[in-house]
Symmetry: D2
Subunit: 365 residues, 4 copies
């Protein structure tokens, strides 16, 4: 279980890091959407390893094949099959650890859960699975854009102790992509790059924070009680590899604010209801209010460090290991398109839910 | 949509704040569990308003009726119907705001979503719905305890700017319940109480942070990719009213740690695999590793403040409002049993999922 | 598990025959539908026992309470809580059989599944659960009628060996309700009544067939592959107590037809695509084609007969039993509103699914 | 929507008849099951076109590739990706009908649902999708066999008006496979073959009935109310292309039986509770009782006949068409492995559900 997400716009994935291929089935895509295949590939390229001096040297072309659900360029409304081959898998560096539990990896928990595991490249627990999220998310982005004019932009706001504090209102994809670490603030970006190089030299790793904003979201998305928009966004983000924290709007900082500071006064402007501030991050009572939706995701440092670590093997015997393999010293730059995809999948699902109960009323068509 | 949660141990709820009753259906409960009804009522009493000088004066006995699924004291394995009457609803203080959008409440978003709303007491968006989570969670806690010896304890770790930093290893329910604000650290507790009284005097409100630990969780709970244990916990917590942030283990602080600091070395101790530190918060690769599971939930300040606020009505006209009604100045003390319930529901669901794929193998019976 | 149905318009139920109450939560109902509560009660009255000399003498007023989800007469879009009290439960006639397996009842299978059972009145396995389907189905009917002009009419087409063969094009609710056995053909109706009285005198029971037609269904409802409209209708009908067979359109008789006989030629008439015959029963490729949807459900004879039967008890010892309690000699007349409700629930769910992917395009708004 | 089935053992599929490939993701498979890949391929070969003079000449090797979820021959417990290439698609015979609605095909309903359609080979509505069900079902069969000793055997019991009436207790796979039409009764088999050849010569087509028995099913599978075992079997079978009827046990014939004839007396034999007759078809109250589960599925005649037919095009203009393409005159022989697969998928899902609530208690391990 666990390989499916979404109630109406749903995605089911398969694939291990060192198997022949990764794949996904996207269900519930409305028919008649012109799919820009280059735009899908572009998102995969943004996630791809081996493109930056700062990321893993594994070379994967990550060329996506669309096997169904598209006819004469348009979505047919039926299941979309996606396939992405694994070309550059190298299991040899994992073989010495097939019976050992690498610290803060999923080796032990997979053994505990399933009784044994595919140890090659981390198997199903590998972050390589995110290639499917990004491909499916790229379709979701096109649906959101076509049906409702929604746009999603993410960026790196923190690497280790370097914080950018970029203003969500100001961040543009152009500025994000101009930075090798995907931080739109040039000063912070330079500092982050320097830190990554330094820590890589120490054979150590870094964590960080990715923020993401969705603009143009119509009011009314999200469901009461258990399926609040924030709840589904939190689940989508905490299901990302290495994610350990999530915030919506003011997040944890709201805990130390007074109601009089945090409340967002309403005003009527541009022919619609808006708020003068946006501490709520575009969501009130779990439902979008038409303001920008702003989220943050905190990532722990990469677990694979290249120095000696204490652990045990599957017999419980103490072992000292020094991992090998190809790993990023810091994943947050590559995590940007992944967080964007996760956010887009949730929004797209809730857009369709809202259509189910209201038809197209709320979208003015 | 939105009123159901859980895949195997599932809960579906209904009810508005000022309707005749709240209710829930708990499905998937294993048969043969002796249900301690007093323990269920005790959890409801912990959540109940009107019991502390620091909480809303609304008086609700919150007496739960079990309408099905239990026979001769034991769960039958079939659907459990729960009903909790609303006794002390008073809609009069809401009437003046039936056409106005109270800032940072769900008034506007419900209108946007549904075209109109039940404005009495916030209708479906009222935090009163959590009474159902607590009742269902109390059943989940008994299932967890009976089948796997799992125990869940939550506490208030922050109110406004007062932080307790209690050690998750040390917190006991007894210490928590000894404090009116449910903070096990007596000094911090006293300071929090003082702050709440002060802010209430200013007709303002406070937010805070609840932490929660689950002890005795067997390794192997959680599913790869989309249904990681952290993901489901994050969803459960961000679906709580006023929740704006979630952390698992080291959470956002992991973002500024190095891999060499954050990684949890494995050791073999007490005849099982353990880690020497627990920055992972008991979850690795989205699956429990047998260590304590530790989460944090950040809550924004209560939206209802008793001073003038700027807003608009449903015609878009500017209005100044000063809300009335019965509200807590700070909800976090009452949120403790709610977060515990949310956590218990997720763990119980994943316990059953794990039984589905492994039978009882992993629990040694 | 098993107490929920529907993906978008969903129903979750609870309740045992001899518990305090039955109940349901209806989720996903579009907002703004004026609910006619009398019409809901009327459907419950049609299903009610004790109203005909031909049915069980158990007297249940079956007064439905709506506890949430309706405000000022209109659905709010949030969960609708329904409660129906059990007033006339009498467990005394079941006590002698608490350790015995009544033939062709669910006594043994519930023991096998859950380890023990609530034996009072059949517990959760009692057909009394259908009261919830009828109430929820009555809401679905109003949604279908309001949003798409769909109308559902069922009738008894067979009792024992007496077959009516009524023409689905001609059957009216008025004609159905004019017959005590709900057969619109007066001759067959009289014969059926006579047969039921005769068999009741023999302390024996009868089965029969209910047919049902949905008129005005827009083309396009149903999903490819696993969720074909016929598939969901079949599931809804085979989940009814005592149901053992299902047919769509020509059903099993299609098996002995040639393609040239069975195929329905298309024509263009009344400004829409129609077929000149309707062997398909309004569904092609699992999707509605705008013609009347016609289904049949076969019911086995009531299991409770009032003569001696051989069986075993829960120790495996042979026992002879002669059941007591209040039971219908033939359930099919009361099954008519139940089959209608089952059909309405499926159609309503698929109507919302179609809105999710197409907005309101297909309904011409 | 519609491309997923199963709650715990779930299958999601994609693929159009004339696209590059068909595929499926099987989720929830317990870990550690030795998968016999040859047995999977054998089931696909049984379904394959082009192997009999009586079936479509389309030549598809239907070689299945397993892309994930299996390691060193054993299931890992994670998602199993399956891929089957389409090799012999020929869209040229469909081109003349791209704007016409072939009678009793899904051309019109897909246009009505989605606004347009992939007309090549029927697109998503093609029966070619069943290749995925058979592959996934072959895995389910191995899980059922390994965990619970369950075995599934189907056969053709009727072709056109030729009925075999084979005894479910007696049918063996060997006898079934010895017949070109998969009817274990040699006389009926010969007659069926003759009829198929005759009707093919008339450019017409035939329907028929497939029956299927599951042996060794433990008591206790199936859920109350909506997810009765019969209900899920009915849905699985009515979702098969061309299926129009479903029966469990005595089916529609039960409608004309008396309770005293239909009831199955219990006895204690071979150290377990059994029934002396099996009119219930192994299911009581929607839950398996340990006796053989027996179902029947009625199929309409193949819609593609090779004579002139009246229809309309997508402008509503009258057209006369004479279809081309490669089609079976009668599908029921090829439907046997498909019905078996459908039944196996349902049983496997319910086996895991039962483990979730009871652990392995009921299976004695």
């Amino acid at each position: 279980m666990g390989s499916s997400t979404g109630r109406l716009f749903s995605v089911t994935t398969f694939g291990e890091s060192h198997g022949p291929a990764m794949g996904a089935i996207v269900e519930g895509c409305p028919p008649g959407i012109m799919l820009d295949l280059d735009a899908i590939q572009e998102e995969l390229d943004r996630r791809r390893p081996g493109v930056s001096a700062l990321s893993s040297p594994r070379k994967e072309p990550d060329q996506v094949q669309i096997l169904s659900g598209v006819f004469e360029g348009k979505t047919t409304g039926t299941a979309i099959g996606l396939l992405i081959a694994n070309k550059d898998a190298d299991s040899s560096s994992y073989a010495p650890f097939s019976d050992v539990y690498r610290p803060s990896h999923a080796d032990y928990t997979y053994d505990a859960k399933y009784g044994f595991r595919d140890w090659r490249g981390g198997g199903r627990s590998s972050a390589r699975e995110t290639v499917c999220r990004v491909a499916a998310g790229a379709i979701a982005r096109q649906v959101l854009s076509t049906l409702a004019g929604v746009n999603v932009v993410g960026w790196v706001d923190q690497v280790g102790s370097v914080v950018s504090n970029s203003d969500p209102d100001e961040v543009s994809r152009q500025a994000v992509e101009a930075s090798e670490v995907r931080c739109p603030n040039p000063d912070a970006s330079a500092e982050m790059e320097g830190l990554i190089r330094e820590v890589r030299g120490q054979k150590d790793t870094l964590g960080g924070v990715v923020r993401c904003v969705a603009r143009g979201v119509p009011p009314g998305l999200g469901d009461p009680v258990f399926d609040k928009l924030e709840a589904d966004l939190a689940k989508a983000c905490l299901s990302l590899p290495a994610a350990k924290g999530f915030e919506s709007g003011a997040g944890f900082s709201a805990a130390s604010m007074r109601g009089s500071q945090h409340n967002d006064p309403f005003m009527f402007s541009d022919e619609r209801v808006q708020t003068t501030t946006n501490h709520s991050g575009g969501i009130q009572g779990g439902i979008s209010n038409g303001m920008d939706i702003v989220i943050s995701v905190g990532f722990k440092p990469v677990a694979t460090i290249f120095t000696d670590q204490q652990t045990v093997d599957n017999q419980g015997d103490a072992r000292t290991i020094r991992p090998r393999g190809r790993h990023d010293p810091c994943v947050v730059a590559r995590a940007v398109p992944i967080v964007e995809a996760a956010m887009a999948l949730v929004l797209c699902d809730h857009l369709l839910r809202q259509r189910a109960i209201r038809g197209d009323e709320v979208f003015g068509s």
